[in-house]
């Protein structure tokens, strides 16, 4: 097993201490981690979700736009941030695994290491 990049180690530690809901994916978009405030919003603990590919977690919380139309995983801000290597922001609706529907604003930021390789991305979200 290769050791995780130090940037991702630090990111996970920072995320665990911050009060904002934070969601972290790797360079392929697979879910790496989300913190306790995110657990409250998403309706289940990260330990219950585990590492999932984008295609799976991107549908897990049934993201929709304001018209109620399902949003494909590749249109989510995290996927855009990874693909286009720039921050992306969007307001969407999700249904937590606790059954509660929430409107959230997501700000996603790609994580580029010093060697310019894409390591992953993080998303911070607010219930709006």
């Amino acid at each position: 097993m290769t050791a995780p990049a130090i940037e991702m180690v630090l990111l996970k530690q920072v995320a665990s201490y911050l009060a904002m809901p934070i969601f972290v994916v790797d360079a392929e978009g697979a879910l790496l981690y989300y913190n306790e405030p995110a657990e409250a919003l998403l309706g289940n603990r990260y330990e219950e979700t585990g590492q999932l590919p984008l295609e799976t977690w991107g549908r897990l919380w049934t993201p929709t736009d304001s018209a109620g139309e399902p949003l494909p995983p590749e249109s989510l801000p995290l996927a855009i941030a990874l693909r286009e290597r720039r921050p992306a922001q969007e307001t969407i609706w999700i249904q937590g695994l606790d059954g509660v529907t929430r409107r959230i604003t997501i700000t996603a930021i790609p994580i580029d290491g010093r060697t310019s390789e894409v390591l992953g991305a993080l998303a911070i979200f607010w219930e709006s």
Binding site: V9, Q13, S16, Y17, P37
Partner: protein, 284 residues
């Protein structure tokens, strides 16, 4: 203040003939204060070695640095929890979503443990330790989050005209480019600055640390460099790696001490050893 190191091992209990001197029990330190108060630092397997306090002690405070198993594994076997006339206060790191009771219950409940928290005979009081200073009988405690995976507290304890800092799991060098040249940017620094005694994570050799960056622990060299910068008087090198036997630890600490003239006393933590600070308890 009198300290007894009941558990000095990190990560995993490691009892075997080759670890008999430094010990195989995981983190636990007993503080006996001059006024008779008792404070216990962490509840690793070493906690089962604490003495029976009898009727003299009506309150014990347990300060948990964090809830990794090696720091709470012994909690269910802590004798004071089964004494109806004793008040046991357990302090732990805060969480944004689940109180300490909820988090401890994940371990202290079936199927992992046959006894539930609510069934313990003692008067149990659980606290999310505040970040900042709070008072215990006989002591003033300052707690703050430090660099380690998961919510982890370091503690600074002032009592009996002495100060002690306890950071058993700590990786302040993680990602820090000029560690520890900038104290204001060094995790845990305020807790340990100028203390009489620092108990600090010293799990790895320098060679081992390279393969364990991000695991949340320090090398012996990190701990010593940090102790020097912080101006501590004594450093208890703690949280020995479970793979390190006594002869290896002897060699590592001898080499580290000989590297240069250190301005503090280096004390490799050995299970069962006793240290004194400041004013002493009377009659113990």
């Amino acid at each position: 203040m009198k300290l007894t190191l009941w558990g000095t091992r990190g990560s995993l209990p490691s009892p075997r003939p080759g670890t008999a001197r430094y010990g195989g029990n995981t983190s636990c330190v007993q503080l006996d204060l001059a006024d008779g108060s008792v404070v216990v630092l962490d509840a690793g397997t070493g906690i089962h070695r604490l003495p029976d306090f009898g009727r003299r002690t009506t309150r014990i405070d347990v300060l948990l640095s964090h809830l990794h198993m090696d720091h709470i594994l012994g909690l269910g076997f802590f004798g004071a929890l089964f004494q109806p006339d004793v008040e046991v206060h357990i302090w732990g790191p805060p969480s944004t979503t689940l109180d300490l009771h909820g988090r401890l219950t994940r371990y202290l409940s079936p199927p992992l443990f046959p006894v539930r928290l609510r069934d313990l005979p003692c008067k149990l009081v659980l606290h999310d330790a505040p970040r900042g200073t709070f008072d215990l009988p006989g002591a003033s405690v300052t707690a703050d989050l430090v660099c380690h995976p998961g919510p982890t507290l370091g503690y600074r304890i002032a009592a009996d005209e002495a100060t002690l800092a306890y950071l058993p799991d700590h990786e302040p060098a993680l990602g820090a480019e000029s560690f520890p040249k900038h104290p204001e940017w060094t995790s845990g620094f305020d807790l340990m600055a100028g203390v009489d005694l620092l108990i600090h994570d010293a799990q790895y050799s320098e060679a081992e640390y390279g393969d364990h960056v991000g695991w949340g622990h320090s090398s012996i060299c990190h701990a010593m460099t940090l102790a020097e910068t912080a101006g501590v008087s004594r450093l208890v090198a703690f949280h020995h790696d479970p793979t390190h036997n006594d002869s290896l630890l002897d060699r590592l600490f001898t080499e580290a001490a000989a590297r240069r003239d250190w301005p503090f006393e280096l004390i490799p933590a050995q299970e069962g050893s006793r240290l004194t600070l400041g004013r002493q308890p009377v009659g113990r």
